[in-house]
């Protein structure tokens, strides 16, 4: 029998300049600095998730995010929000959320059944920051 790994957000503080929510220059390339952490460093998820790329998030903003999605070259490609459906149904709202880049070329919204970090069934709201972003995040 194996020791159970309790997964919790370990706040890994990188020695990087503080990244303000709208500081596009700081967030343009991975790694996003404090307070963002790489999701795969603190949760049992792949480092690169097909369709979402490499995600960084400020743990205090969970579950909604924003999650900053970087391609394999470390370029910010999308900002992702994850909103639990039952929270919305029960009256929660997620207002004034930050965004990784003010340039948005398209948006995808789709259902996700859950994953470590956001266990509840939720919606993914994905703001792509350039026309080729979706392709770069695909795999």
């Amino acid at each position: 029998m194996f020791r159970k790994t309790v997964v919790a957000f370990g706040f890994i503080v990188a020695a990087a300049p503080t990244a303000k929510a709208h500081d596009e220059q700081v967030l343009a390339n991975a790694p996003a600095g404090d307070p963002y952490v790489k999701v795969s460093d603190v949760l049992p998820l792949p480092e690169f998730i097909p369709g979402l790329g490499t995600l960084f998030v400020d743990p205090t903003t969970l579950p909604a995010g924003p999650f900053l999605a970087y391609d394999r070259d470390g370029r910010l490609s999308a900002t992702v929000y994850m909103t639990p459906l039952d929270d919305l149904q029960n009256g929660a709202s997620f207002d004034g959320l930050n965004i990784g880049s003010h340039t948005v070329s398209s948006t995808d919204i789709y259902f996700n059944a859950g994953h470590p970090g956001v266990d509840k069934p939720h919606a993914h709201v994905v703001l792509f920051h350039d026309e080729n972003a979706k392709e770069r995040l695909a795999e």
Binding site: M1, F2, P46, I49, L52, N112, A113, D119
Partner: protein
């Protein structure tokens, strides 16, 4: 009695971690259950969701979902204080989180019905059932009738024992 072991397989089959010791004999049969998901994670499931095996079979759970992690966790008080849905004489198991292409093995000895779930995906009814042996086996314990600890969706997702025994492998229906 249950024997377990966990492996991480990365980069085309390079085994880089074997966590627990095992007394599994090489001649023992192996059955496979895969954790799967749709590309965007709208749906996740065990494949097969129902499986009949003989006593002593090693069941290998492998994560084939490239964008998510999964567990195979027996319903048992030892696992997050859940109500028991495996035979009383069997030990519980918990694979812990398996990243893509990692796998976990458990050898099931005690005859009866074993229900298990995916820790982050139980709310999405990612559950499975394994039937070991047949009701005529000594020590057989059938499926739990306790409904206090699982949702209606979960119960609905578990194939009937009779169907599993009849078909051996029950896959998810789209």
């Amino acid at each position: 009695m249950i024997c377990t072991r966990r492996h991480a397989v990365w980069l085309g089959g390079l085994a880089v971690a074997s966590v627990a010791s095992s007394r599994i004999a090489l001649a023992q049969p192996i059955a496979t259950v895969e954790m799967r998901g749709s590309p965007r994670g709208e749906r996740i499931w065990y494949d097969p969701v129902g499986l009949a095996v003989s006593s002593g079979t090693t069941v290998r759970f492998t994560n084939r979902d490239p964008g998510n992690s999964h567990t195979a966790t027996a319903y048992h008080p030892a696992n997050y204080d859940r109500r028991r849905r495996i035979p009383a004489a069997a030990d519980p198991w918990d694979s812990d989180f398996l990243l893509p292409d990692e796998y976990f093995e458990v050898t099931l000895i005690t005859p009866g019905v074993y229900d298990y779930y995916c820790l982050p995906h139980e709310m999405a009814a990612m559950v499975g059932r394994i039937v070991v042996g047949t009701p005529s086996d000594v020590g057989w314990e059938g499926s739990s009738h306790d409904k206090s600890d699982v949702s209606e969706d979960t119960l609905t997702a578990l194939p009937l024992v009779e169907r599993i025994l009849s078909e051996v492998t029950v896959r998810r229906e789209d």
